[in-house]
């Protein structure tokens, strides 16, 4: 008999723009000891389903129809106090953004105690010892000291362990993990997922993993359910679903995930696979970064953000800058973009040292147009008060006339429309505000603005990190086409090794402010020199179709 049974669940939200049906007729079940993955893109309703079954929907959310039963108990008809008993003791949940998920002004140990006391797993005298034991159960070293810590003092990975300790403190039977590794570094991500898998195995838990990452689903789960726009599209064994998906949507998802041995065009559905352009990489270096250094003074501490970094980017070449958070890649790209002044070093562009002109004055420098940036968060990079047209026109108005100031209004209008066509943005969206555009549309506006002045070097700062995998496939292809068409060079900053391999000719790996390894993309990915690169590659979740996916239960049986 299944532990959790959901039949025809329907959830709707009352919003300013009317009623939104977030979940429409979903039927799922989780057996004892089984791990189910719910996979989908944004808006699929995967998180809402789990909030609904735990009855912690936001105000304005309502379960319209369906049945939810857990161990025979009807969760829809249970009273609020019965639900409060079930939460934490029978069913637990962990969320993304672990630091925000903890009370910022309460010691983490006390927070675990609160849960233990609430479900009568301890009395006041033993509470502290039990809390420390719960922390040790999630492999936190020096648990007795960490007990007194506040969330802001702990790293993201450590915070997530505390959240897991909180969730498992009262020995629940079902664990729901809602995107537990989003925002964490790839090595931390692996550590956290391995920990969760181990705990599930040890305690014989059932689990639901909600994720957009097919690799995680394939690697850690027994069964997979695919959701799209509130509906369940397909479900079955992990092995079967990924190696031989039935539904076209699942097929599209698997195809669009960047993985080894696959070129950028193959991310797209077959009918859109035009021949990929081939760039001729020049010999002349366009950008030469020499001994670039940046040091910050913060509260009396010296932080060496970038230490003596040297690399180059040649004409029409695409170089990937890879590393985890804090490695200095964002600071390096900010310096190359002349948004930040280096403490030492040279930035040679077409032979001229850009570092000689201070960042404050670079905005009006004639060379400004030649270096542009595509931002990670397209939404944040668009002025909320500007229409898409205004956003794209701004660089044209300031620098569009090849060093003679800006373009006139009529010329600007034509050029903006030309650019919209170039990036595949429908012209009638140009008069919309950013909040009225979808994620993919905002990304296109950002790209159109960046290429408006036909720059020679384009830095792309995690341009697809926030996008759904299907949109990412389209945008990556767009970037490849634009590069060939406009003869640009790319510096592609990312933490996602699979994406970098698709687009880059050479890869530079950074760690702790210094370059650890650099070389041709294939070489770095298949035969890395340094241990660090090897650990990065090992930690990246393996997208399906590469390995035969094995869930933890089957693994334990081996």
């Amino acid at each position: 008999m299944a532990l959790l049974d959901i039949k025809d669940l329907a959830v709707s939200f009352r919003t300013r723009r009317g009623t939104v049906d977030a979940v429409r007729g979903v039927t799922l079940s989780v057996a004892r000891g089984e791990t189910l993955a719910i996979v989908g893109e944004s808006g699929s309703g995967k998180s809402v389903t789990s909030y609904a079954l735990m009855r912690i929907l936001d105000a304005g959310g309502r379960i319209e129809a369906g049945e939810v039963s857990y161990g025979g108990v009807d969760l829809r008809r249970a009273s609020e106090s019965e639900m409060a008993d079930i939460r934490g003791r029978e069913i637990s949940m962990i969320f993304q953004n672990p630091r925000a998920a903890l009370n910022p002004i309460r010691k983490v140990g006390r927070q675990i105690e609160d849960v233990l006391l609430r479900h009568n797993r301890t009395n006041r005298r033993d509470a502290r010892d039990k809390a420390i034991a719960a922390m040790e159960a999630v492999r936190i070293r020096d648990a007795a000291e960490r007990y007194h810590a506040y969330p802001f003092e702990l790293s993201g990975g450590m915070c997530q362990r505390i959240v897991i300790a909180l969730a498992l403190a009262c020995d629940p039977k079902l664990l729901i993990a809602d995107e537990p590794t989003t925002g964490l570094d790839v090595t931390t991500q692996k550590a956290v997922m391995d920990l969760i898998a181990e705990l599930i195995r040890e305690r014989g838990l059932s689990a639901i993993l909600i994720t957009h990452d097919l690799g995680l689903a394939a690697q850690y789960c027994d069964r997979v359910a695919v959701m799209r726009r509130g509906e369940l599209v397909e479900q079955g064994d992990a092995a079967a679903i990924f190696t031989a998906p039935q539904h076209p949507y699942t097929r599209m998802l698997v195809a669009a995930t960047p993985r080894e041995g696959v070129g950028v065009r193959e991310l797209l559905p077959p009918e859109l696979r035009t021949p990929a352009p081939v760039d001729q990489v020049g010999d002349r270096p366009l950008l030469q970064v020499r001994r670039l250094t940046k040091t910050f003074e913060r509260d009396g501490n010296t932080v060496h953000a970038v230490k003596d970094v040297s690399f180059e980017v040649r004409q029409s070449e695409s170089v990937g800058l890879v590393g985890e958070s804090g490695c200095g890649k964002s600071t390096t790209s900010a310096m190359v973009m002349r948004l930040l002044d280096p403490s030492a070093g040279e930035i040679l562009f077409d032979g001229q040292d850009l570092a000689l002109t201070p960042a404050k004055r670079f905005a009006r420098d004639p060379r400004r147009a030649a270096l542009q940036l595509v931002f990670q968060d397209a939404g944040d990079s668009l002025n909320p008060r500007f229409t898409a047209r205004d956003c794209i026109a701004d660089p044209l108005a300031r620098l569009g006339n090849f060093g003679w100031g800006g373009l006139g209004r009529a010329a600007r209008r034509d050029r903006v429309e030309e650019l919209a066509d170039l990036v595949g943005l429908p012209r009638d969206l140009l008069d919309r505000f950013p909040h009225q555009l979808s994620g993919g549309q905002k990304a296109r506006v950002g790209i159109a603005r960046a290429v408006a002045l036909e720059p020679k070097l384009l830095i792309l700062d995690e341009p697809t990190a926030a996008l759904d995998v299907s949109i990412q496939a389209v945008v990556l292809n767009l970037l490849v086409d634009l590069k060939a068409r406009l003869g640009m060079s790319y510096l592609f900053v990312s933490h996602d090794l699979h994406v970098v391999r698709l687009l880059c000719d050479r890869i530079v790996v950074m760690r702790g402010g210094a370059i650890v390894e650099q070389g041709p993309a294939e070489q770095v990915m298949t035969a890395p020199q340094s241990d660090y690169t090897r650990s990065l590659l090992a930690a990246a979740p393996v997208p399906p179709r590469m390995e035969r996916p094995v869930g933890p239960l089957a693994q334990a049986a081996q």
């Binding site: 002025n383 909320p384 500007f386 660089p395 969206l429």
Partner: protein, 290 residues
């Protein structure tokens, strides 16, 4: 799905204004109340049934009747006419004070928030100094020092309000200084001052609109409070605060209408401005457009 008609920008703005008025009934009511106040301010002297300054000793201290809707005061002047005519003065004082403090406060606050460093430190200490005085006390001090005129009431009110705008703008500018669109503006060739003036500051406007409407209310209360203790406006000028002060002497003997009607007018005006706050903000914020 896509709307392909190209509408004129002015028409879209007007449509948005209408949408905001319709969607929140409170905003609609607030604007109706504002219309009443503006009408009283503009047309007051023309509509007043009696001369607000004409004394008539024979008819002093008459309670409200059909002849005198709000009764007469101790000099026989018609209270209704005086309340009506006072609208113009009170409104003029508060609007000029708020405009002045908005302009000065925004400029200083933007500079402090964008460039930081010593500019920020010096300006912040200045604002702290002003805010160190209980504000009404400072207004008292300024008006007493500079002289009892309406202009000085305006200046005093403006000075004590500058720190509110400055701090608000400073915080809003600070938040947005390193945001994506500010950096993108620099990449597009905008000099620092352009980024501040055309990209960052306009985005700080919506929260400031709420502050502006609150301030309009405070400014009126401030001016009225000052006249109540004898600073600023002098008799026989018709101003709500001074009318309440003069009427205070008669309340304990039961002649309530001298003080109550101007007081109610004060409350009506301030209440209107407070209600306006959210509506004004919604009109200025593009994210409210669907």
């Amino acid at each position: 799905m896509a709307d392909t008609t190209l509408t004129h920008p002015a028409a879209t703005s007007l449509r948005h204004v209408a949408y905001v008025l319709r969607s929140n009934p409170v905003t609609g009511v607030a604007f109706a109340m504002l219309a009443v106040i503006l009408a009283a301010a503009l047309l007051g002297p023309a509509l007043a049934p009696y001369d607000p300054y004409a004394s008539d000793a024979a008819h002093a201290l008459e309670p409200p009747s059909w002849r005198h809707w709000f009764g007469t005061d101790n000099l026989g002047r018609d209270v209704f006419s005086r309340v009506l005519v006072a609208t113009r003065l009170d409104l003029a004082i508060s609007v000029s004070a708020v405009v002045l403090s908005f302009v000065v406060g925004s400029a200083l606050g933007s500079a402090a928030g964008y460039w930081g460093g010593w500019t920020d430190r010096v300006l912040s200490r200045m604002f702290d100094t002003i805010m160190a005085f209980p504000l009404f006390v400072l207004a008292m001090g300024i008006v007493a020092a500079l002289g009892n005129t309406v202009e000085n009431v305006v200046y005093a009110t403006a000075v004590i309000n500058v720190p509110f705008y400055a701090r608000l703008v400073r915080a809003e500018v600070n938040i947005r200084r390193e945001s994506g669109f500010a950096l993108a503006a620099r990449l597009s060739g905008n000099a620092d001052w352009r980024v501040l003036a055309f990209h960052i500051f306009p985005n700080a406007l919506p929260p400031m609109m709420v502050q502006v409407s609150l301030n309009l209310g405070w400014a009126i209360l401030n001016a009225a409070g000052l006249s109540f203790i004898g600073l600023g406006v002098r008799p026989p000028t018709a101003e709500w605060g001074i009318m309440v002060a003069e009427g205070a002497n008669f309340i304990v003997s039961g002649e309530w209408w001298l003080a109550v009607f101007p007081g109610l007018a004060l409350m009506f005006a301030v209440f209107t401005f407070n209600l306006l706050g959210d509506g004004l903000r919604d009109m200025v914020d593009p994210r409210m457009r669907t």
